[in-house]
């Protein structure tokens, strides 16, 4: 990746997420510079995972917005009331034209044709609204209607993630899991697949080779055909990373990737973060409890506590910040 190092890949502005009365994330501003490793830390329940889920498109924020790769992707919907108008507008226009032509020519055929076209358009718009392909979202955006991105839109835009408690597809093999990760980068249609067109076969072959490469990259060579559930715990964590990498993200969100690992596994994982940055050129946002890991790999650290951002800076700055010490060790510890 050769993007401008100064341009942040992700900008969160005043992100707030409320669950009922509980403010899990409170007006958090956050920048992730391209090519950096940024960590998000904080005591249990601080709102780290919630922030991740907002950024990944899983939760619509209560307030604030997230810009990803220079585009506004996530925020509360705007002018949602206008969307149904967009659905019926083409239909109405076609019907009006039909009636007009009918009046001019008095033949009656135009109206019937217009009716059929109008019905087709209505069904098309209805399907577009449900499937929400990128063109549809862009069309709405042009018209000033904004809908927050879904998780799959964020993946297409270049965001990959892992989960705090592993969420692999357990009955699939390691290699199949990685291939699911590639889903948005593969393009074979059902027809391509059903007819085994060369395009589909080439793509599948390539996907298989790539899946092996990703598995080898995270250190799972030779375990391609193992069922995910049968893998050792540490291997499952690594497989999640491989699956996320397979979607060719620009930004990788890792939610406590070393949780439950022993020191040697943790060290391997830490090495992997470095390689992801240097060899793949990715940007990483890391949630991590292990302070040694955090201090070792992070360029910048942001600290959350009870949903508030209480500190931000280099590892050295954060380590010395009295508010951080207080949040972790309780009041009085910083005195």
């Amino acid at each position: 990746m050769t993007a401008d190092a100064a341009a942040p890949v992700l900008v969160a502005k005043g992100v707030t997420k409320q669950f009922g009365g509980l403010v899990a994330v409170n007006a958090v501003d956050f920048d992730i510079p391209q090519g950096s490793i940024v960590s998000l830390i904080g005591p249990n329940g601080a709102g780290k995972t919630t922030f991740f889920n907002v950024v990944a498109g899983l939760y619509e924020p209560t307030d604030g917005s997230v810009e990803f790769a220079g585009r506004e992707m996530i925020a509360r919907g705007r002018r949602a009331w206008a969307e149904p108008l967009v659905w019926v507008l083409p239909t109405v226009i076609v019907m009006l034209v039909g009636v007009l032509l009918e009046q001019l020519t008095k033949s009656g055929a135009e109206l019937a044709v217009a009716l059929v076209i109008a019905l087709g358009l209505l069904i098309t718009m209805f399907l577009l609204a449900i499937i929400r392909p990128p063109i549809y979202d862009r069309l709405l955006y042009r018209l000033g209607i904004f809908k927050s991105a879904r998780p799959n839109d964020m993946v297409v835009a270049g965001l990959g993630r892992t989960f705090q408690n592993i969420r692999l597809f357990k009955t699939m093999t390691a290699s199949e899991n990685v291939m699911v990760g590639m889903h948005s980068r593969l393009h074979a249609s059902p027809l391509d697949a059903a007819l085994r067109l060369p395009r589909h076969r080439r793509e599948e072959k390539e996907a298989d080779i790539q899946a092996r490469r990703w598995l080898a990259f995270v250190g799972l060579k030779g375990k391609e055909q193992e069922t995910a559930r049968n893998l050792a715990y540490g291997d499952q964590r690594r497989l999640e990373v491989a699956r996320a990498l397979a979607s060719q993200p620009r930004l990788l969100l890792l939610d406590e990737p070393t949780a439950g690992m022993n020191p040697s596994e943790t060290a391997q994982m830490t090495t992997l973060f470095g390689r992801i940055r240097t060899e793949l050129g990715l940007t990483i946002l890391l949630i991590e409890h292990d302070m040694q890991v955090v201090m070792g790999v992070s360029d910048r650290i942001t600290v959350l506590d009870h949903g508030d951002k209480i500190s931000e800076g280099t590892p050295e700055e954060v380590r010395r910040d009295p508010r951080v010490i207080e949040a972790y060790l309780g009041k009085g510890a910083s005195a």
Partner: protein, 410 residues
């Protein structure tokens, strides 16, 4: 059983047999292993060979005792053709329920839509006379379109809610056909549908009521095509996406899968298979009426999928065939058999019981119910489970608990 595994990696097996030949020594096992490996690599060919063998063997098997005592070969062949309809229904429903994990209780709606499509395309009622073969395609496409239209509003729902809504759709469709008299002839249905023509191929001209053979061969052909397409879809990015959604929808979406589109695809592909079955069924009976497509059809297809082994195409097909034959032949013969024993009427408390007079066909759904209950207790993965289902249903208790955890921990 199922030859699934990552594409391009050596698939383990495909085809009809269920054991795994992994042992080392005997020659026949090694040979079997070779055959399996070959079949894994040539999936479509092995489907064709497997079905061809089956279709060739069946007509001979029914000539053997005791089967030959139950009816003529012709009767059996006609019955097999009807069984084929349910095989198609079951493998189509398997895409929705088995692959994508969407419980659809109104699947018969698409069967009805396929059948009525043929009725409009080739009957005196509409005045059209479009040949059977293109109508197969038309029926599949129309059913697929309705699959999308009926599926679209329901797909935000999950589990139980989806089941209820599809149940509603399944009831609405026959009711519409029943009440829109002017367009559907209401209760009487549409009659006199044209029968297919084979254009003199193999010396067969018309498909007649008296000759079930062409129907039998046709349904085997349709099943073979459906099998090949479904196997290929299962082994593609779409098949993987279905499984991913079934296992963990949230993780699937977070891996870039558009869950709505993918579920709609499952719905429409399942519906199109059902539409094929509908066209074939209508042409064979030469009549369509709303009462042929009630809830019992949806239920029967679902029972076949569950008993056969959700997610495994061959297993589901075998399940459908077995269930259909038990229902159509087995129960009838059971009645005849019990009758032939001449068990005298005996008293059971205040009742007098005459076993010989029992019509077992009346107990069909009771027996289904029993079979399903037993199956769920003893072998929840079905008779011929897919590798996936088996491993899923035998997960450890901790894992089961874990997978019940809430989104809170996403």
């Amino acid at each position: 059983m199922s030859g699934r595994s990552g594409t391009g990696t050596p698939p383990v097996a495909a085809g009809g047999t269920g054991r795994s030949g992994r042992a080392s020594s005997p020659v026949w096992r090694v040979a079997l292993g070779r055959v399996r490996a070959y079949m894994g690599r040539h999936q479509s060919l092995s489907i064709v060979i497997g079905l061809a063998l089956f279709a060739t063997a069946l007509p001979f098997i029914v000539l053997l005792p005791p089967l030959n005592g139950f009816g003529t070969q012709k009767d059996f062949i006609g019955g097999f053709a009807d069984a084929g309809v349910f095989v198609l229904l079951a493998i189509g429903l398997n895409v929705v329920v088995g692959f994508a994990g969407l419980l659809d209780l109104g699947y018969a709606a698409f069967f009805a839509i396929g059948a009525y499509t043929y009725a409009y395309g080739a009957s005196p009622f509409s005045g059209l006379d479009i040949p059977f073969w293109p109508m197969l395609l038309v029926g599949a496409i129309v059913a697929a379109m309705f699959g999308v239209l009926l599926g679209a509003p329901t797909l935000r729902l999950r589990g139980d809610y989806l089941a209820i809504v599809t149940l509603g759709f399944g009831e609405i469709v026959p009711v519409v056909f029943l009440n829109a008299d002017t367009y559907t002839n209401g209760t009487n249905g549409i009659t006199g549908l044209a029968q297919p023509s084979a254009y003199g191929l193999f010396g067969v001209n018309g498909f007649g009521f008296t000759n079930p053979w062409p129907y039998f061969l046709t349904v085997v052909l349709i099943i073979a095509v459906a099998f090949i397409f479904l196997y290929r879809l299962q082994d593609s990015r779409i098949g993987r996406a279905w499984v991913a959604i079934r296992e963990d929808e949230l993780a699937a979406a977070s891996m870039g899968i558009n869950t709505v589109t993918t579920k709609l695809l499952a719905f429409s592909i399942g519906a199109s298979t059902s539409g094929l079955a509908g066209v074939f069924y209508a042409s064979k009976l030469s009549i369509v009426s709303p009462d042929q497509f009630g809830f019992t059809v949806s239920f029967t297809a679902l029972a076949m999928v569950v008993l056969g082994g959700m997610g495994n195409i061959w297993g589901v097909a075998a399940g459908a065939f077995i269930v259909y034959e038990i229902q159509a032949q087995g129960l009838k013969q059971l009645g005849a058999f019990v009758q032939s024993l001449h068990i005298p009427t005996f008293a059971l408390g205040p009742m007098s019981v005459d076993l010989g007079s029992i019509n077992f066909i009346n107990f069909q759904y009771l027996l289904y119910g029993l079979a399903l209950v037993l199956m769920m207790l003893l072998r929840p993965e079905g008779l011929f489970p897919s590798r996936r289902r088996r491993s899923e249903l035998h997960e450890s208790p901790e894992e089961a608990a874990e997978s019940n955890e809430e989104l809170v921990q996403a």
